[in-house]
């Protein structure tokens, strides 16, 4: 077709015009390609991360809501009422296993397990002391005797620290959901009872491993336990030995546990959910793991022998072991999780409780820099396209005016307007395609390094922001959204209850529960592949759109032109 030949010839002959248009489209194509790649990378990373994510959720008491309620009550009624409310709140705080199991019947739940956590002291054996907890202890409000008792261990810290960085943390470290440990005396050890093997996530995920003996049997109510290598080494314990634990509220109340296994932990870094981080018991090395049934037997027994006293705040306190039950709901995917809350409410979950997923929050958090970047890339793309389109339109307005005479001649020679328009469109398309291919190729080649560099910037920026905040606060800020909202709620509770003793006490208590060092979020910091067929198609679409904008200008002009006017008004 001569029209295309003509178009091609014109783009080659009018080098100046071609190069000018070409450079503009090249720049647009390059930036669009990078921006699209970033968006695609974010999308891919999101999908991939979500694919590999098994989502678990917990139901916890909406403490701040209750606190507010209590606050409202205390404003209108006398203070004994508010104390009663507070006590009631403390008692009600933990859902019973039966309740948890009820909600586990929701369709969306694929699995459910639970743990029981309690804090104890031990007779004859010493808790492993890492510098991690020593450092924090100096500034913490944790009991002095603890640090006294374990200070001799701190000479051994270097080895302890490196090896104890990580033990199987309780799968759900959220102690705030339960009233247990926060009201009684904190022990040196944490005992966690698991309802099922799959509740022991550190083992199922492979970060913890039995190195000697075997895991306690799940159904036996016999007091079997497993302990960490560090604790075993430190106290020269081995499989088959027994340890005697005692109730921190009543040192005479003791229980004997049989060690069936010793485990090691391979994960390094600070474990998530180090919520009880202020004391020795928070050290993963000092966690004693048992079956739920076995631990429940102990706490039940403790309950039965407990004595009750009233503290200076007028709140009744039992000497029983503080036990905290936490249920974990497992979901196949994010959608099931989204449905869960509604289903649980339908099954009777009261509004005092909230459903939250730490996995999902961490997942969302890990994507934040990439998503921020993706959002910026999106705006950038729009700006580029708008500016690009304007430039191309203006350029084409000038170009078609400059070529008015040529258009007139072609039409005078009998070339139909449609064909003239087609020739002009072809010329724009040829330039656009060439520039798009070069710009797109350059964009594709540099999109991965550019994205990673930008991503690194973004991550540094968010890290700096949180570091600044930590400096300003003098303590770590919650890194995770649910955590940070928790701490802000706590702060709010503090503020609003400045003249309410009981509430403010509990506020600071729960703040003391904040770990000394939050988990550093594992941001997605690198992408490997950004340009795929979708990006190519999108890029092509963008270029065609730009070419269309330019063509539209040319075509409108051509349709308006009449050869007689053009040719007779020349010179």
């Amino acid at each position: 077709m001569y029209i295309f030949k003509n178009a091609f010839r014109n783009t080659v002959r009018n080098r100046g015009r071609t190069i000018l248009t070409g450079i503009i489209i090249l720049v647009i194509a390059f930036s669009s390609c990078v921006a699209l790649s970033i968006r695609q990378a974010a999308q891919t990373a999101k999908e991939e991360a979500l694919e590999g994510l098994s989502i678990t959720a917990q139901i916890s008491l909406d403490r701040s809501a209750m606190m507010k309620q209590g606050q409202d009550n205390s404003n209108s009624s006398d203070s004994s009422d508010s104390k009663k409310d507070f006590a009631k709140m403390m008692n009600e705080s933990s859902l019973s296993v039966e309740d948890m199991q009820k909600y586990a019947k929701a369709d969306s739940v694929s699995d459910f397990y639970y743990t029981l956590t309690t804090s104890v002291n031990a007779v004859k054996i010493e808790a492993v002391q890492s510098s991690y907890s020593v450092n924090n202890m100096q500034s913490s409000s944790s009991s002095g005797s603890d640090s006294e008792k374990s200070s001799k261990a701190s000479s051994d810290t270097s080895s302890a620290q490196t090896s104890t960085g990580n033990a199987p943390a309780p799968p759900q470290g959220d102690m705030q959901g339960g009233g247990g440990p926060m009201m009684g005396t904190q022990g040196d050890f944490t005992i966690i009872g698991y309802s099922a093997d799959n509740a022991m996530t550190a083992f199922t995920e492979g970060t913890s491993k039995i190195t000697d003996g075997q895991v306690f049997s799940q159904n036996s109510s016999e007091a079997e336990c497993i302990i960490s290598e560090e604790l075993a080494e430190y106290n020269s314990l081995s499989v088959g030995d027994s340890i005697v634990i005692s109730n921190p509220n009543d040192e005479d109340e003791t229980y004997t546990l049989k060690i069936t296994g010793i485990y090691s932990n391979s994960q390094s870094g600070v474990q998530q959910g180090g919520n009880m981080g202020f004391s020795t018991s928070s050290d993963p090395a000092n966690q004693i793991l048992m079956s739920y049934t076995a631990l429940k037997a102990i706490t039940d027994k403790s309950e039965s022998v407990a004595t009750t006293s009233t503290n200076d705040m007028g709140i009744e306190q039992s000497s029983a072991l503080r036990a905290n039950t936490e249920g974990t709901y497992v979901f196949e995917d994010a959608e099931s999780y989204e449905k869960f809350e509604q289903q649980a409410r339908a099954l009777g979950l009261s509004e005092d409780y909230t459903v939250s997923s730490r996995d999902l929050s961490a997942y969302e958090q890990s994507l934040t820099p990439l998503e921020t970047l993706s959002k910026i890339a999106g705006y950038f793309l729009i700006v580029i396209l708008v500016i690009g389109a304007i430039i191309l339109i203006v350029l084409n307005i000038f170009s078609v005016r400059e070529r008015k005479y040529e258009i007139g001649v072609l039409m005078a020679m009998g070339m139909k307007k449609g064909k003239v328009a087609l020739q002009f469109i072809s010329e724009i398309m040829i330039v656009t395609l060439m520039a798009a291919i070069i710009g797109g190729a350059a964009g594709a080649a540099s999109s991965v390094p550019v994205t990673n560099a930008l991503l690194q910037n973004q991550i540094t920026a968010s890290q700096e922001a949180s570091e600044n905040m930590e400096q300003n606060f003098g303590r770590p800020m919650g890194d995770m959204p649910d955590m940070s909202s928790q701490s802000s709620e706590d702060a709010q509770a503090n503020d609003s209850s400045a003249n309410d003793k009981s509430a403010s006490d509990s506020g600071s208590e729960s703040q003391a529960q904040q770990p000394p060092q939050m988990q550093k979020t594992n941001y997605i910091s690198e992408i490997n592949e950004a340009v795929n067929l979708k990006v190519v198609a999108q890029l092509l679409g963008i270029c065609v759109l730009l070419a269309a904008a330019g063509s539209a200008v040319a075509v409108t002009a051509i349709m308006r032109y009449e050869p007689l006017q053009i040719l007779s008004s020349r010179d």
Binding site: N6, L567, D571
Partner: protein, 212 residues
């Protein structure tokens, strides 16, 4: 037989200002017509009407007994008439040969491009443009050369009617003579040749003179 017939043709660029009024004329095949008149008389305007670039405000123009207001103007221009414009109207960034080949393309020539090129060279040679000049962009040719390229282009699609606006205006006597010979040959071949001219020399060679 009349190839083109004008019947009570009126035309004005602006309303109520007729440049041409009540023109009645017949152009036969095999003849050379000279259209003469003072500058601004409307000679170029008449050619525009004949070439289908403009339509009469009143009256009718017939091409081979068919009202040209009813035929496709583009087809009419590209196939039926060959126009040599007063200011040539060549495509500046194409070579002489390409301008001619393009004209053949627009006329719908199905010949292979080598054949078209060959034909273009021959046409250009017939108006005294040698091959080496044929491959230069027309912008780089002299006014006289451009004029001859325009004439060659008007003949490229072998039209029934040749309309030429001052085709010899920029030419020396010898070239003018050569052009007149070409036009004469075309008339002998049965074409209708209509030439606008100020030159009495050219008018003298015409079979008929129409004075505006």
């Amino acid at each position: 037989m009349a190839v083109i017939k004008l019947e009570n043709v009126y035309f004005g660029y602006e309303k109520d200002k007729d440049v041409l009024s009540d023109i009645n004329y017949e152009f036969d095949e095999g003849k050379i017509y000279a259209i003469v008149g003072r500058s601004g008389a409307g000679k170029t305007t008449l050619l525009s009407l004949l070439s289908g670039l403009a339509s009469p405000t009143r009256g009718n123009i017939y091409f081979q007994d068919e009202d040209i207001s009813k035929v496709n103007k583009y087809d009419y221009r590209s196939k039926m008439v060959g126009v040599v414009f007063q200011n040539f109207n060549l495509i500046n960034n194409l070579t002489a040969a390409e301008n001619i080949a393009l004209s053949m393309d627009i006329a719908g020539s199905k010949e292979p491009s080598t054949a078209k090129k060959e034909k273009a060279y021959r046409l250009l040679e017939s108006v005294n443009i040698p091959r080496e000049e044929s491959d230069r962009r027309v912008l780089k040719l002299s006014g006289g050369q451009q004029q001859r390229v325009a004439i060659a282009r008007a003949l490229s699609h072998d039209p029934q009617v040749i309309l030429a606006d001052e085709p010899t205006g920029n030419l020396d006597e010898q070239t003018q003579e050569e052009i007149l010979q070409i036009l004469k040959r075309l008339a002998e071949d049965g074409k209708c040749v209509i030439v606008v001219t100020h030159s009495p020399e050219v008018a003298k060679r015409a079979d008929e003179i129409y004075r505006l």
